[in-house]
């Protein structure tokens, strides 16, 4: 694979469950070395999309390519180069932590023992403990060790931190940054679906918001924070302005809060014309953009 081949390429993906269209014409492309966020509400089609990438589900229409290969026809070639952490991790309950890691390593051609020892120490996991007695946080930590030790080119994370305590969540993300990203950056791609967007904010290069199985918004994270801004103004007296093209306008007495979608300069000029006592603007975070995208869908 040369570096121009996208690590993930999805075109017009359709997957139905009976009459229900879980994914309905989704397209997205993830370039090598990126950390790609995949955001959507419950039932938007995130997990179905991920399962199609991993050949855990067959698409009804459209194409999926991972490393330029078809995951249905080249399942082994694709899976040997990626690792997957689902939201619910399950292990054989009679195996110990070290048995489980041995078992996972037996499927891999490469396994980094140094990283394994390092992460077991960092997470303070007892290698002799049976997996049945691990907490949810410890299971996720074990799954993450199993995903990082083979040093895969692609790490697929599906709601990896939901239901975990804040310290485990923080360690999880630090591990993805520290242990996983330490290799050759062009061979370290992350595809993460999550609701806890704020925690992954600094990691995300680019993202897609999926809504009812369709792409709603795909953007570079810095560009999105530049485009979506919140403007707050206070005037000497109450007034209603014909603010054209604002994503949303909220009045509270003499104050007004406006969401701008790429037109903050024009809106600021309109507001300045009415001599505000106070005028400030800030970017929306990715989480706020996700919430605002609901407005975007309706407009």
């Amino acid at each position: 694979m040369n570096n121009d081949t996208p690590v993930i390429e999805i075109q017009n993906l359709v997957r139905r469950y009976g009459k229900h269209d879980a994914v309905n014409g989704l397209s997205l492309t993830v370039a090598a070395g990126k950390c790609y966020g995949f955001f959507g509400r419950n039932g938007a089609g995130k997990t179905t999309t991920i399962k199609c990438l991993l050949n855990l589900l067959r698409p009804d229409a459209g194409t999926t390519r991972v490393f330029g290969l078809d995951p249905c026809r080249n399942e082994v070639a694709v899976k040997s180069r990626l690792a997957y952490v689902p939201d619910m991790v399950a292990f054989y309950p009679w195996m110990t932590v070290s048995d489980t890691l041995e078992y996972l390593a037996s499927f891999r051609t490469h396994w980094n023992r140094d990283i394994e020892a390092d992460l077991l120490r960092r997470f303070q996991l007892d290698a002799t403990k049976k997996t049945a007695s691990l907490s949810k946080g410890q299971r996720t930590q074990l799954a993450l060790i199993g995903a990082i030790c083979p040093e895969p080119e692609l790490l697929v994370l599906d709601e990896p931190t939901s239901g975990l305590d804040p310290i485990v969540r923080r360690e999880f993300i630090e591990t993805v940054i520290g242990a996983y990203q330490s290799g050759d950056p062009t061979r370290r791609t992350v595809f993460v679906s999550t609701h806890l967007i704020a925690e992954f904010e600094g990691l995300i290069d680019e993202f897609t918001i999926i809504e009812q199985g369709r792409e709603l918004l795909t953007m570079n994270a810095d560009a999105a924070r530049d485009r979506f801004r919140k403007i707050h103004a206070r005037f000497p007296r109450e007034l209603k302005l014909p603010l054209s093209g604002a994503l949303s306008v909220k009045y509270a007495g003499r104050e007004v809060e406006i969401l701008a979608n790429g037109n903050s300069e024009q809106l600021l000029a309109e507001l300045k014309a009415h001599q505000p006592e106070e005028l400030r603007t800030e970017s929306l975070t990715l989480e706020e953009i996700f919430v605002a995208s609901d407005v975007l869908r309706q407009s």
Binding site: E174, I177, G178, P185, G202, R225, L284, T285
Partner: protein, 138 residues
Amino acid sequence: MILQIDFKSGQPVYLQLVEQVRHAAASGSLQAGEPLPSIRPLAEELRVNRNTIAKAYAELESQGVIETIPGKGCFLRAVNSLLTKSARHDLLAQEIDRAIVAAHHLRIGDAELLALVQKRLDIFDRNNQAANDSKAQP
């Protein structure tokens, strides 16, 4: 040197880091020859992508602010400009213009602006002096 990022500032994350390092160098909290934090621990601490830190450091290096010594890390350069004087004046003029525009909108007059510039220069001088003093007496 403590670096911080703010996703609400509207400025790309890597540029926030570039500006903070430049500010630290100008105010003396980072001195020539002193190392910058290594990429991995800084990325973990700020919980940002390593590529973002690498991009910020590459930008600082291309601006001549820092230099990379292979195997050792990044260090603040002693003379931190590779550009000619007139090119440096042009770059600074753009920054000054931004401050002038901001002053206009905040209804701050010319004399007041100049006084404020002098005041800020004094603060930077004082910080630099303090940094040098603390280095002289270990």
